[in-house]
Amino acid sequence: MKNNIRYICLILSGIILFGFGNNAFAFQEEDLIAPRLSLGYFKDSQNGPHLRVKARVRAKRGYDDLANLKVNVYQIGEEDMLLGDITTGMDGVAIFKLDEGVFNRADSSGLITAEIRIEDQKGYEDSSADVEFSALQIEISFAVEDSVGYVTAKLTNPVTGEAVSEEDINFYVRRSFRPLTIGDDFYTTDEEGIAKVEIPSDIPAGFDGKLTVGIFMDDHYLFGTIREEQEIEYGPIPTLDQAYFERTMWGTRDKTPLWLLIFPNLIILGVWGVLLYLAYKLYIISKIKN
């Protein structure tokens, strides 16, 4: 009897083990997703210096964005250091803000290496992507010379203190949807790392009199994609069209022109006053004695 029970237990555990093992095996073989990762270094006024992760997955036609993927972010050096983890959003993009410590750990030439890794994520193959970049210091200054405004950009390597010369940068003013390039598409920095451009005097500032000028470097092999912006006081202030706030024929009912409120209402009151009076007179007729 006891033997029998032992046998049954053995067989059952065998089935269970075999079954599980088999399942796990099938999962690994068929269902593991191999995401395509890309990583870049960015800097802008909204997020500061940051890494931008884009995860995609091969689909029937082209690629689909891969949402909800968790990746670990490392800084590579003598010892790899885990900086944290991030998860991609609906568009497959995740942004990892970099703090000062990352830049303090740069090597003597200012070079930083970052890597993202998918590690032990259920359903995903382990994979990684890395990027090498260097911080770039952009100083924007604005000056008016002979009543013409100039924006000057000075590029230096913050670690070595050397001027960054022979680099192409784009000058722009910030606008609602897309920035507007000022001057030529690109200006090359000189040996002092300086480029200078005139701001057309007729570019309107905001209603507060402020204009946001910026420097843009697009997908540089070393400095990444960088936007550095600065608010200056320059440019004509546009005049706000007051039509919306005035009483016009095109206004809403709380902005009906006064004459259109007064005269029709006077007529309406006058006519309906008489009508009500005449209705009241009907009552008088029914009550009158003689």
Binding site: R253, L261, I268, V271, W272, L282, I284, I285, I288, K289
Partner: protein, 432 residues
Amino acid sequence: MTEEKIIADLEPRKFGKLGMIWTIVLVIISALGIYSYIKQFNNGLEVTGLRDYAFWGIYISNFVFFVAISLVGSLVTAILRLSGAKWTVPLTRISEIIAVASIVMAGLTIIVDMGRPDRIWHLFAYGRLQSPIMWDVIVITTYLVISVMLLYYPLLPDFAILKDKFTGSPFLKKWYGKLSLNWRGTPGQRKIHTNAIQVLSVMIIPVAFGIHTVTSWLFATTYRPGWDSTNFGAYFVSGAFVVGAGGVIAAMYLLRRAYKLEEYITDDLFDKMGKVLAMLCLLYLYFNINEYLVPAYKLKKEEEHHIFGMLFGHYAPIFWSAIIGGLILPILVVVTPRGRKPLPLFIISVIVVIAAWWKRFLIVTPTLLHPFMPMQGIPENWTEYHPSYDEWAITIGTLAMALLIITALVRFLPIIPIEEYIEHINEKKDEK
């Protein structure tokens, strides 16, 4: 004629067989219209032949028609009366009845045309005075109230007479008594009464001009060729008087036949109304010439399509029928004394009313089918306008309902003001 005879002749009478058939037919047509309207209410304006270019159709032209014909109330009871034409006395009641019935139906017709009739209260909750539609709402409500009062005030003495002398059902007699508001004809009552009618008669004239002028502005305030006209107010008002006069003549004739009122609605009355009609037709013709000749002379590009479509094109058959039937023919026939005899005048009046309805169709539809931008990328049948069955059923239903309201009022009210008529006869005797 003695007072007793006049009262006996003019008191409301039960319908005969023909009257019953007439009423039943109207009820059936109205019911079919209501049935179609329920369908439209549930499914939306999809059930009509209206689409994005011809987005206004026979509902709107029907609305304009109703507003137009309602002007007869002010014409007969106010304008002619104030100008001292005492002979209109037998016509005042019937023209006020036509005015009330058609202005009520005008209001209902505009609701029929709305895409969201369930939101009619928005007009009052969110009304915006910049819009001519608001002006129309205000002025039509006002006109309705004035018309009802102008119908009711002169009825007071008649109700009092009927309270005593009505020979029909005691139930009605009791109601006449209640509605007479203790009218005893005392000097005090008479003073209020005369003044009130005088004030209402004066007031109704600008309001009547107002309703139809504002209605014309619904079109004239847009940029569209055929509507963009400074002539439109006068053109509409003069046309309205023509159809109103036509309507009242037709009603006169039918009532005279039905109730044997030859002594009251005399041949002379037809003769006079015929002259009025001729005069109004000439006036309307003048505004028509203005309306078509000036743009046809200039031939602005957009106007050209519109005008030529009307004069020689797609709409020419309707246009010329309406112009000849509604204007030229009445003028030619009515200028001769024989044309002003009751029967020919009746026939002419019916033609005038029908032509007037189609004239309003021509005011609305052709313009919409000549927009400034090209008509492309739409189903081909959207470039034309063919009212659907339901649309016709509803439109004819509203016309039947207007007639039904008139019929009901004719059945229960004295169609010729009894007391006023007695006074009128007495005055005549005195003059002799």
